[in-house]
């Protein structure tokens, strides 16, 4: 069984040409912890996630992962995408099975797919095409696909931002249960402060571009004991907003200037 990975980032910086995006990021995500990355638009949250997942080489700095990985883990660092990234020509079952192809025998694959579809409440929609599903259901498929490879670290890139507010709240509740059950380290990128307070055990606030670590909050309360109207979490949400408000306003003005 996975115990989650410990991730160390040491002095990670990144630039797109002459544009500096991230500067000297040093962080540690503890095994089994949910680390939330927040910050104003364009601060490099998704870039940092891609560096952590090995999808992008940083301009400088190192990133290391440590920990025990279960024998049945097929992809230690696994993404959940904002736009779901489902193959429109494959049904739900086959979208999930894709990531198990050439890795598990056919019966084992079918068992694994059945298990994760049951876990995510998708059993009745196994034969449906993505176009036949709502946004929330599509993201459930994205989660099921991620869980199917038994990840040691989940990398979630604004997984709820493409969804409406009601679906977002419902799915957030499910994330809490699923993340707890999957026993993984989770890196969760969001611009939604309520999500950050609800899910984060370590909340990293990045400054506007070039993104630097501005502040780190540790929330020791267990995920399952948190509720949306918890006064402590609401207070944390307000604190987070106070910290990033000025940066967000400047970042927005810079975006408008760039367009004009």
């Amino acid at each position: 069984m996975n115990t989650g990975l410990r991730l160390h980032l040491d002095q990670v910086s990144h630039a797109w040409g002459s544009l500096r995006v991230l500067e000297s990021i040093s962080l540690t995500a503890r095994p089994g912890e949910v680390m939330v990355l927040i910050g104003p638009s364009g601060c490099g949250k998704s870039t940092l996630l891609n560096i952590m997942g090995g999808m992008l080489k940083p301009s400088s700095g190192t990133i290391r992962a440590e920990g025990a990985i279960a024998d049945d883990c097929l992809n230690p660092m696994t993404y959940v995408f904002q736009d779901f990234a489902l193959l429109p020509w494959r049904c739900v079952r086959d979208n999930v099975a894709l990531v198990l192809e050439n890795r598990l025998s056919k019966p084992a694959r079918a068992d694994r797919v059945r298990e994760v579809l049951e876990l995510t409440g998708l059993s009745d929609f196994a034969g449906a095409l993505p176009k036949e599903l709502s946004g929330g259901m599509r993201q459930r498929v994205g989660i099921a696909r991620a869980l199917a490879v038994r990840p040691a670290c989940l990398l979630m890139d604004e997984p709820l931002s493409a969804l409406d507010a009601q679906t977002r709240d419902l799915l957030l509740e499910e994330f809490v249960t699923l993340i707890g059950r999957a026993n993984t380290t989770t890196i969760y990128v969001t611009h939604n402060l309520a999500e950050a307070a609800r899910l984060g055990q370590q909340i990293v606030v990045l400054s506007r571009r070039p993104g630097r670590v501005r502040e780190i909050f540790h929330v020791e309360r267990p995920l399952t004991g948190r509720s949306a109207d918890d006064p402590d979490l609401l207070a944390l949400e307000r604190t987070l907003w106070r910290i990033i408000r000025d940066d967000a306003a400047v970042a927005e003005r810079e975006r408008i200037d760039a367009v004009v």
């Binding site: 990234a85 894709l98 050439n102 176009k131 490879v149």
Partner: protein, 263 residues
């Protein structure tokens, strides 16, 4: 200022044409009937244009005598072999050029230099290289099919959403699995559109190649009928080519319905 008092008139609708096969069939029927009446009335000389009824009779006789099958089977085998060969090499080259920089520039250069050459102009050269037999005809068709297939496939690969490829990479899928499960199905709409073009082109090249050097085949049959002023047989051959084109278009349409039903 004007006061408004009344129902809101409907202004939407339209601009969404639907396929009405009955209207298409009726149009063809009207043309054929007008043509036949023109011949019966003496307005159209049968020396230059046979009547639809005579063409149908000639077709029937050709079928009974076995001549139609002899020519059609020769043409079909050349068409199939040439088209399949051109398509396989074209799709493989298009995918390679769409995926790897090392292939892209060389393929683009060759396509830009050779695509515009009318392939039929190369038939005499192919006859010198491969002889007057089947080789030169099949190569002509395959080459004519190859270039448009490369262009269509490369465009299709370029249009596969990059987020799906990144998803495959992020799950550690092998390059082979990414090509088979993500890139090929994603490029399928463009590849199948390319099939429509290449299938018609293959028929054109088939007939032209058969007219240059063949004893059997619909192109050779049409040419020999023209030399004999046998317009019944000549037009019967053209009808067969038209039906062949329709059958091929129907097959590709069916393939699209099966492979692209997710759209």
């Amino acid at each position: 200022m004007r006061l408004f008092n009344g129902p809101i008139a409907f202004r939407g609708g339209g601009f969404a044409p639907r396929d009405r096969w009955l209207a298409g069939a009726a149009t063809l029927l009207v043309i054929l009937t007008g043509w036949q009446l023109g011949v019966w009335a003496g307005a159209i000389s049968t020396l230059f244009l046979s009547s639809p009824v005579s063409i149908a009779e000639t077709l029937w006789q050709l079928t009974l005598s076995g001549a139609l099958w002899k020519h059609l089977s020769a043409s079909l085998s050349r068409l199939l072999i040439g088209w399949i060969a051109g398509t396989i090499f074209g799709v493989a080259t298009g995918i390679a050029a769409g995926l790897w920089s090392v292939m892209r520039s060389p393929v683009m250069a060759v396509v830009a230099a050779l695509f515009p050459i009318p392939k039929i102009a190369l038939v005499p050269l192919f006859i010198i290289w491969f002889g007057i037999g089947e080789g030169s005809k099949i190569i002509t068709i395959a080459l004519g099919v190859f270039f448009p297939t490369v262009v269509a496939t490369m465009g299709g690969v370029d249009n596969v959403p990059r987020n799906l490829i990144r998803m495959g990479q992020s799950f550690g899928l092998s390059t082979g699995t990414i090509i088979r499960a993500i890139i090929l199905p994603g490029a399928a709409p463009a590849i199948l559109s390319g099939f429509r073009v290449t299938a018609s082109l293959a028929i054109v090249l088939l007939v032209a190649a058969e007219m240059i050097g063949a004893d059997a085949g619909i192109g050779a049959f049409v040419l020999s009928a023209g030399n004999l002023y046998d317009t019944d047989a000549l037009l019967a051959g053209i009808v067969v080519l038209s039906l062949l084109g329709l059958a091929v278009a129907g097959l590709i349409g069916a393939l699209e319905r099966i492979l692209l039903r997710w759209r």
